[in-house]
Symmetry: C2
Subunit: 337 residues, 2 copies
């Protein structure tokens, strides 16, 4: 982080024709981005969304309202432009790469989808590790190379998204393990479970945690055992983005579990993170507390796919435009307080 | 409100390829706009900002950090494109009409400013009524005709903004009178008063309330005695917008006092209001409670000028675009829960 650039941005904000601090977090956004990008003219464009679609063996435990076939259906829907994130990415003018990182059935070539399959879904964490060491290494590498490719094309903000039936369960188990929390402290309804469904899901998370409790408790090993291909790729992307000095905009519940893993693996990654929104998934609050994250939006979103991050992009752009284009007291001949 | 259109919009949201309700308030935005506009395809474009700049006699009581000359300086700055709202309006592609509704010194012709002067600032509410009955009627009419002009040009969302040194004081006094609250329950730092300044401002509000306590307590008469040219014009604009079925996006503290006046004058106006943000001015919370308003953003803004409303416009647009462009389960061949 370029503290000089951040300080200069703070000074500029204080000279713009408004009461000091009166644009609140819009000022903070510009200042933080200036510090991350080491510039007086922060910008988030181009925005790069990395969309990781995968299946999760734990879906077999009946932890979702939706059948697993929805994952492949949604992969096609995202690629064809019909999903929420497809519409939002186009509307905000963000670039998006869509990855099949391992859905249950190989869809074959799909226009607009990068086939990067790590398997036919991750392992069922209630019975086995989510992935092998090779799969974990490949997933982390996939995230890293995607970030480096985005950087080569000029990206100035990295967003990870995910889709995959059942994936709040591994995200919950992983976060419980990383934070030392009990299953009932983090488990929620996901896409819409009723109270009985949440109780069952809590038991599944508890079984997964018990199964892997005797293993090494390093964040990387917990990610391998309790995560998913989506969160592992996102973790790799976040670590690489921070290494390259690229701002990260963290999406909701699932991606926050990857953010948590990334920060526990490499604490400096935290400095490159902005937090988009408070998820309606109740456990997200604890994850934000652990990350010391203060999300910008609280609109009751609980969809994933990077949709919460996409909603914040126009605000980040406004913050940057205000920072660059507003007149100072001196320029405008306006008296100061 | 077209409850059939709102119901149809709710049904469409429930058929889009996402868990029901998972886009939270982005769904609510589209549904409310559909009901207001009586259409399956809600849109906020074109957005019309009406910017009312005026002075307030009560500034003579030393209730602001800034000297009164800042009002005329900011009028020029807004017109020249250097103010926060100028930059934001351009960035979001909103139309803006800028009105001199009565600043202390007549600036003469200013490019981009409509001269609609009701006087050389409103009366000092600690000593007299803010305006005469004629001035009030003219201000209300000014807001109404501005809305009708916007409607003729196709506007689909009305936003009022304001600028004027000292104007949190009449907004506070007016809101106290309208809600039956004590000065200390609503008075805050405005553009940045220290605690001594807030204590003094509270006394000024108390004196104004005491002076006008024996008068008729109708909302219209309280607006005349304790408001300002900016809030009176905004009140007129809000009532007219509701009469013409045009959605209103309410800005921060000052404009919320106008919203309160409008709703107390004509309760149906409430149905046409969306609330943009929670102001950092502490008393705003009580005003939102009284209006049963649940603002979309909470970013610590306290600038006015319609900047909080402008920040919400991209979210309203995203909500409308999602509503129109996302695929349904049937269209995308995605299985339902």
């Amino acid at each position: 982080i370029d503290t000089q650039a951040a300080k200069a941005a703070r000074q500029r904000q204080d000279q713009l024709t408004k009461p000091q601090g009166s644009l609140g977090r819009l000022e903070e956004m510009a200042i933080r981005l200036a510090g991350m990008q080491g510039t007086a003219s922060p910008s988030v464009d181009p925005v790069q969304i990395l969309q990781f679609v995968s299946d999760h063996g734990v879906a077999a435990e009946g932890v979702s309202c939706f059948p697993q076939e929805v994952t492949i259906q949604m992969l096609h829907n995202i690629a064809r432009g019909g999903a929420a994130v497809s519409v939002m990415a186009e509307a905000i003018g963000a670039r998006m790469e869509i990855f099949d990182v391992g859905i249950a059935t190989d869809p074959g070539p799909v226009e607009g989808v990068i086939s990067a399959r790590l398997g036919a879904g991750s392992g069922n964490i209630a019975h086995e590790a989510a992935m092998t060491e090779d799969q974990l290494a490949t997933a982390l590498d996939l995230g890293r190379t995607a970030v480096e490719r985005a950087l080569d094309k000029g990206a100035r903000l990295i967003v990870c998204g995910e889709m995959g039936i059942g994936n709040t369960t591994p995200a919950t188990a992983l976060s419980c393990a990383l934070l030392g929390l009990k299953p009932q402290e983090l488990t929620g309804p996901g896409t819409g479970l009723n109270p009985e469904g949440v109780a069952h899901k809590t038991q599944v998370v508890a079984r997964a945690l018990a199964l892997h409790a005797a293993a090494e408790q390093s964040p990387l090993e917990l990610l391998r055992r309790l995560g998913g291909f989506d969160t592992a790729a996102s973790t790799g992307a976040f670590i690489a983005a921070a290494q390259h000095g690229l701002p990260i905009l963290v999406d909701g519940f699932i991606i926050s579990s990857a953010a948590l893993a990334a920060v526990l693996i490499s604490p400096d990654v935290r400095h490159w993170m902005l937090f988009s929104h408070r998820s309606a998934e109740p456990g997200h609050r604890r994850m934000m507390e652990a990350l010391d994250g203060d999300p910008y939006l609280d609109l009751g979103l609980r969809l994933g796919e990077a949709t919460g991050a996409a909603a914040v992009v126009p605000l980040l752009r406004l913050a940057c435009t205000i920072h660059q284009k507003m007149a100072t007291f001196g320029e405008a001949g306006v008296s100061e307080a």
